[in-house]
Amino acid sequence: MKDALVLLAGFFLAIVMSEILLRGTKLQTGLSKVLLAHAIWFGLVWFYMMRTDGFGLITLLIFWSGAFLTWFGMRSHVESSILLRMLYLLRQKPISASHLLQEYESHYSEGARLEELFRGGLLEKKAGETVVTAKGRFIASIASHLK
């Protein structure tokens, strides 16, 4: 039971560290920092398990992959979801569709999303034109394969 608690605590601390490193920015912008935080905590938990003859590496990898996928998916979805943002805006008062769209766009317009892609190093400006970077091409090709 102690090993299971250490594993859960390690994963929780990786999430906390990720949030500290992200400082309120989008997940896609700070993905490398998040991966670093998880790598550090995974390494520490693995080191502990080796010293105490606890869970094997395969078990750690399977648990961490599943927990990371779930956390990553949920966080990324909630922070960018249009539907959830709409619900959040409606929480204050009932509003019309046009007003809701206006409110939404003032917060997160297409321009803001593009800016986020530039900040994340997925798009860049070359000779006045917007082009996809190598990192962006890599992610886009994986996404188009899996879609």
Partner: protein, 144 residues
Amino acid sequence: MNALQVSGAIAFITLSVAFYLCRRMFVFNIICAAVIAGFVFYLDRLHLPFSWEFSVLLLGLLLCWFGLLIVRVMLMRSVSLHLLLSYFQGRPAETIQEEVSGRFKDALFFRLVRQDGSLFRLTLFGRFIATIVALFYFIVRIEK
């Protein structure tokens, strides 16, 4: 590696391959449920003593299933990803207006909102979800 870890690894690889091959969520869910049930039944037949490692492996596999489902939804619906793909593939993306109007239909379909004339109002269920979202925004410091 013991039998527990080998069967866990096989189940994990099968889930990953199923995610790659099955685009339909229904089929993917059936495969995942079958794989995880198979993993439990196989280990049950080995009459191994209870171990926390088994519980952690099972939890990990369930989280993989759930996590992959969310990733599939993201791949289908993420506006930012669609924007990136539109530049990658050189085709125009859907506008935010189109995306938002699509979400109105979703919100009505899932009974998260109801329409009073020209106004949209949260249902009780919608208010519950909106409160969770507000809490999440607060925790991860998403600007309002």
